[in-house]
Amino acid sequence: MQSIISVTNLHKQYNNYHAVKGISFEVYQGEIFGLLGSNGAGKTTTLEIIETLRTKTSGTVLVDGLDVDNAADEIKKIIGVQLQAAGYYPNLNLSELLHLFAGLYNHQIDTHAILKSVNLHDRAKAKYKELSGGQKQRFSIATTLINKPKIIFLDEPTTGLDPQARRSLWDLIRDLRKQSVTVVLTTHYMDEAESLCDRVAIMEGGNIIALDTPQALIDQLLASGFDPRREVKKANLEDVFLKIAGHSIDAV
């Protein structure tokens, strides 16, 4: 496996708050890598340092062989960034917004094709604020696709979405991997990480406390003699909801 992101001994200190305490990890080319952890664990800080949006206190971060210290502009050209909370220019419709980003990346684009790839081709004339939660996230992902990036960063892409919208976003993210795009995402939904991510790093208090494939982490837990508090049934309430309320992309 070839590494495309390499983080070594990364620290981030805000005034008197140590947000990231010397973490190291690699992200492999073409995988979906998940950063898990509760709020304040340091996920977003780590992500934004790799995205060159935030300065680090110490450590080394290489993105596709480029150092964030001296090649931030080059890195920005090969990554796509979806922020946890992002706004878009007011009063513009989706198609105009995509043109704006096309200019910002210096890329020619086919707005229809891009909107179709995130299932928003019939909303080209809609304003961002008129979209539903799931549509907003899908549009944010569309803006990350413009420069045909090698790596896409998604910061809590499914937070606040209903189950159908989450499923539709997962499909979209899996499609990206099929096009050999590396995806780094943060989430605090463990089911999402389990079903979507090839490997996950679990962060707590600025440290990485576990890093492996979801199955390996589960196996390790079971091997340590874990006893679930109750019998796990073959389906859960979400399965019930999706079965009776439908799993339709068009509905969201």
Partner: protein, 362 residues
């Protein structure tokens, strides 16, 4: 791969920003509608002519040469007949009537003329007295058939009439530029920061300075379109004087652009200082309102107290207004308004030094 063009990225921001501004009602209202309303108002009422409102007392003899001369000769005097004595007294006290006139015929056939003026309108009252007096003199002289001791001949030098629009329009244009610059920039950068639009821009390869330049360019294009529109409406509909035609028009636009760049600097400061959206208007008004009143927007600075005038003359909007008026009416060239341009430039340097310290990206 082609090298990355910051200019291309900047122009993408300008285009998006311009599209956004054009669809934002408040920007259009402030830049176009607001100044246009003032120009319309002053364009219609501002013929600059004095009007004397004079009531004719009941039982006044109107079948005489004096009254007929007064009625036909002067387009300044408006005579009103249907007032009662009581009404006349009330209106005179309020100053809505400038004078009242009574004419009675004496038994020997001579006329007795009585004029009543009001302390509420002393200047116009006096003027009416003078006009009436000169008519009486003329009638008396011709009635006596004597040679007058003094003859007056009055000639007028032909000149360009300085219309009210010639004063009002540059002032409104200057103020429109000021408010577009300050409010527009303050809100746009505050909002882009607040809604994280700008953070998303940071994740693209554009350099920060080009984000500012792109936004600034959009504001300049929009404000100059507004300025061109205001000048052309003034010129076409209200006879605003563009002494050297197109050259004057373009020089005015150039001055407007310089003024706008300076005023945008205030906007950058306000967007940096404001803690939340509701503190932007007070900060921005602190900059725009004093200049609205003190920079000769509606009335000349010479109408203000003497001690205040030196301060007024140093305000940036005063420099812009003066330069616009000199160029439009006196046909001054850019070199002749160099003092005003220098004044604006110094303001620009000061403001941008402040903006560099106070502007915040996050």
């Amino acid at each position: 791969m082609k090298s990355y063009s910051q200019t291309k990225a900047m122009l993408a921001i300008s285009k998006a920003s311009l599209q956004s501004i054009m669809r934002s009602p408040s920007a259009v209202v402030f830049t176009l509608a607001f100044p246009l309303v003032f120009i319309l108002v002053f364009g219609f009422i501002g013929s600059g002519n004095i009007e004397l409102v004079v009531a004719v007392m009941p039982q006044t003899q109107t079948n005489n040469l004096f009254y007929q001369t007064l009625e036909t000769d002067s387009n300044v005097i408006k005579l009103h007949k249907n007032y009662s004595t009581q009404q006349i007294k009330k209106e005179l006290e309020k100053g809505t009537l400038d004078a009242a006139l009574a004419i009675a015929e004496n038994t020997d056939g001579t006329l007795q003329i009585q004029i009543q003026t009001s302390a509420a309108s002393p200047d116009k009252g006096k003027l009416f007295g003078t006009i009436a007096g000169s008519i009486i003199d003329k009638i008396n002289v011709s009635a006596l058939q004597t040679k007058p001791a003094i003859q007056l001949s009055q000639t007028e030098v032909s000149g360009r009439p300085y219309k009210r629009i010639d004063f009002i329009l540059p002032g409104q244009l200057g103020f429109s530029i000021l408010s577009t610059g300050v409010f527009g920039v303050a809100f746009v950068f505050f909002n882009l920061r607040q809604t994280l639009v700008i953070k998303r821009f940071f994740a693209t390869p554009i350099k920060r300075i080009y984000i500012i330049l792109g936004e600034a360019l959009a504001r300049i294009v929009f404000a100059l379109m507004g300025a061109a529109f205001i000048i052309l409406i003034g010129w076409a509909a209200f006879g605003f004087t563009l002494i050297n035609g197109l050259l004057t028009f373009l020089t005015m636009l150039l001055l407007a652009a310089l003024g706008l760049i300076v005023f945008m600097g205030f906007g950058f400061i306000v967007s940096g200082v404001a803690k939340n959206e509701s503190t932007i208007p007070p900060f921005a008004n602190m900059i725009t309102l004093p200049q609205f009143l003190l920079s000769g927007t509606f009335f000349s600075i010479s109408a203000l107290p003497v001690w205040l005038q030196p301060i007024c003359k140093l305000l940036p909007l005063t420099f812009l207004n003066d330069a616009l008026r000199l160029v439009a009416f006196d046909g001054a060239s850019l070199i002749e308004v160099l003092p005003q341009i220098t004044g604006l430039t110094i303001w620009g340097l000061l403001v941008y030094m402040g903006a560099a310290r106070l502007f915040r990206w996050e």
